[in-house]
Amino acid sequence: MNSAAAFFKAKSEGRARAVFLRRNGPILMVYAFILLLVVIGITQSERFFTERNLANVARQSAFLGIVALGQMLVILTAGIDLSVGSLVKVSILVSAIVMNGESANVLPAILATLALGVIVGLIHGFLINELRIAPFIVTLASLVILRGIGLTISSSPVGKASREVMMFYVKKVGPVPIIALMFFALVIVTLLLLRYTVFGKYLYAIGGNTEVARLSGLPVKKTRYGVYVLCSLSAAVTGLLWLSRMGVGDPAIGDGIELQTITAVIIGGTSLFGGRASVLGTLGGVLLLGITANLLVMLGVNQFIQGLIQGVIIVAAVALYKQEGD
């Protein structure tokens, strides 16, 4: 072993740990923030720390959280998906129309909605891969187009959820709503996907340096198709959950979800430049936004300053720690 090698060995053990801490410090900070809010909630409101409210917050988190996971995967590849909100809207309409209140139509409705997600994801993948348009532009255009399609399908409430689908929303396993469980299961799956699969590694590689990924012979295009399909699927699934939540297909839902998911993902320490992502961070970001909204209601905060408080919390959450540069 030459001397330089010996030198690096001596130094490297401590470094790996330091690097880990530097990368994950922000995420710990987010959880500390959440803890602070929870403490405020417990001390300032009798009803915050009740089984019912916690179940509520957990279930609500799933709505933002599932899309946020999809968004995170896309951002990991240095992409972005601005169309998720509009896709949720169209998914709600499609599933409601196909289901039309009939139990027999539940499966076709689910399949149709998921197929919609797959198709939209494939179109995104095509435009980004084959026509080489920036993801921001592709999905911005898609946001506008899908909104138009949503309005074309129906500008007023349509369709209906079947009884079971509506019951799915309130179903619980013990004290935990099944929707919350579903979300946490997806969190774990995503965690495993990123850590233990080739697909996950390729997402990092493409986001870290697409050119290198290409030169290393990775299936860059296929992986990109895959990740945009996954993200669109997450929006489609969320559309189905919304149907279960509302019972009827309402085009009023969906605007602005994209911004919320991106905020949650970034608060969670994922880099918009790609190549770095944190599932637990994203979970933290989702919970932080959810708990903030819940607390504003629970504490009966003066209506005029609610917006201000939300703004301060978001800005503080992203500004509190210095994010690493590219």
């Binding site: 030198f7 030169l215 012979g217």
Partner: protein
């Protein structure tokens, strides 16, 4: 690892319907944006030999290799590898068919770990695309151990120095068990032990029948390892000969088109007054307790092993990294001190950085903008750029350093590596500095340009300018420096005068271990 390889001993069995060549690139042509980068280039390689590929900056070497890799498509010509047409293959096909390439510009994913990078695209896996992490780490560990490189496999490569990254890159190429390995200037940032290590790796590969295409501007390396040399000039092959049929002056003449006086230029100078003093400076990198003095009209060489902190020293002197202790003072100019590059520039310093893509160049911007950026205040009146003055500067720079470009408005990303380096150099010379720090100034620069740069350095000295030169090329350090500081583990291990300096002496100082007392 290499034992898994098959068929190397018996090439005829592996590719039956074939000539003696493992690779044939025939009549390749390629043009970019109207510039003909390659014209009718033919390159043939037999198994088990080392092919040197040389030529001036911009001659088309990297382009030829990128075509081989499937990263670019040739406009015309065909590629036959192991008896099969490969000119329409994708990068993945090429890698799978047994070619691996070490690119001139590092091809690693910065955020991913060393092990992940080495096996990128060929991860050991269980069914369903699930990673076999155990194998990933053991195989990566074995590979590095065999190459004599010790690195933390889990460290993101962005945390490594570029020399270390280069080693990872080599490991990555070797892990592919290729029959043909292309190395595009692998040695540009390696020195001493690392370089020897590289050569022993190459020797080892040759023994196993692997073919190597080796691109380098360091001709002594080419003479040391190549069996055959192909010379490219302006996108055309001007010679393809066995090494034995060549000597150095002939090779240089083939490349440059004229004979070249390859001696370090000397001048008769007196050391001038004291310009800069650094006392006990340290930064939060590995740099510790470094003191130095710089005098007008001298060249202060900084030698050291990869990772010894030379680049850190340069950045600290230039105000790019904050000092955690000590201080730097400019003597004479009101004894100015500084804490940012902007202030350092005002105090008369310039830094030509080592990693030109990341720190030196605006690749999306034109040569013109790159050249005039630090001296804009001189070229503007009331903040408005004077076009004529600017044009003069650009033309002067272009001529002085013979920068090859299609027009001043060409984006620098389309220049060849060496010409990019010249642009960075020219940019700093325009600031008319008193002290200029050159971090690996001739890395990736062709012989012709290299000696231009040496001459230029001397001219600068004659004008009283002090030069701090960091280099991994010992002949260059010894040939050019008036004094040499040898760095070791972030400290100054010693200072040598020109007379005292010798390769062995420097290497000894740079590698002497003082770390016995350090915790492992």
């Amino acid at each position: 690892m290499q034992t898994e390889r098959s068929g190397i001993g018996a090439p005829d069995a592996a590719f039956p319907n074939m000539s003696e060549y493992i690779l044939e690139m025939l009549n390749i042509s390629k043009s970019f944006a109207g510039v003909e980068a390659l014209k009718d280039v033919t390159l043939r390689c037999k198994p088990g030999l080392v092919y040197g590929l040389v030529g001036e900056n911009g001659a088309g070497k990297s382009t030829l290799m990128k075509i081989l890799a499937g990263a670019y498509r040739a406009d015309a010509g065909e590629i036959v590898f192991k008896g099969q047409r490969r000119d329409q293959a994708t990068t993945a096909d090429i890698i799978n068919s047994g070619i691996s390439i070490i690119y001139q510009e590092l091809a690693l994913v910065p955020q991913m770990s060393v092990a992940d990078n080495i096996f990128l695209g060929r991860e050991p896996r269980h069914p369903l695309g699930i990673l076999n992490l155990k194998q990933l780490y053991t195989r990566a560990g074995d590979l590095l151990a065999r190459l004599g490189i010790t690195l933390d496999l889990r460290l993101p490569v962005s945390e490594l120095t570029i020399a270390q990254q280069q080693l990872v890159e080599i490991a990555k190429a070797l892990s592919q068990n290729a029959d043909l390995i292309v190395m595009d200037e692998p040695s540009a940032i390696l020195a001493g032990d690392e370089l020897d290590q590289l050569f022993s790796i190459i020797a080892n590969l040759i023994e196993q029948g692997v073919t190597i295409i080796y691109i380098s501007h360091r001709l002594e390396e080419v003479f040391r390892i190549a069996d055959e040399v192909t010379v490219l000039k302006d996108g055309e092959v001007v010679a393809a000969r066995p090494l034995a049929a060549l000597d150095r002056p002939t090779l240089v003449e083939l490349m440059v088109g004229r004979s070249l006086d390859e001696i370090f230029p000397q001048t008769q100078r007196e050391r001038g007054e004291l310009l800069l003093v650094a006392e006990n400076i340290a930064t939060d990198t590995i740099l510790q307790d470094v003191s130095l003095e710089v005098y007008a009209g001298e060249i202060l060489g900084i030698a050291g092993m990869v990772g010894s902190g030379r680049t850190e020293l340069a950045r600290a002197l230039f105000g790019a990294d904050a000092l955690t202790s000590g201080h730097i003072k400019r003597i004479g100019k009101d004894d100015a001190a500084w804490s940012s590059p902007a202030q350092a520039i005002r105090a008369g310093l310039a830094l030509v950085p080592e990693d030109r893509k990341r720190h030196g160049l605006f690749t999306a911007l034109s040569v013109r903008i790159n050249l005039t950026l630090p001296i804009l205040s001189r070229l503007t009146r009331l903040g408005i750029v004077r076009r004529k003055a600017e044009e003069r500067v650009v033309q002067a720079a272009r001529e002085r350093l013979s920068i090859v470009m299609s027009a001043p408005d060409q984006e620098t990303q389309f220049l060849s590596g060496g010409n990019q380096q010249k642009v960075v150099l020219a940019k700093w010379l325009e600031t008319a500095p008193d002290i200029i720090i050159l971090d690996e100034p001739t890395r990736g620069v062709d012989v012709g340009a290299k000696f231009e740069i040496y001459k230029l350095m001397r001219q600068l000295n004659d004008r009283g300018i002090a030069i701090i030169m960091i280099s991994s090329e010992l002949p260059e350090i010894i040939g050019m420096s008036d004094r040499i500081l040898v760095m070791n583990d972030g400290r100054v291990a010693g200072e040598l005068t020109r007379e005292e300096a010798g390769e062995a002496r420097i290497i000894e100082m740079a590698t002497r271990s003082e770390r016995a007392h350090k915790p492992a």
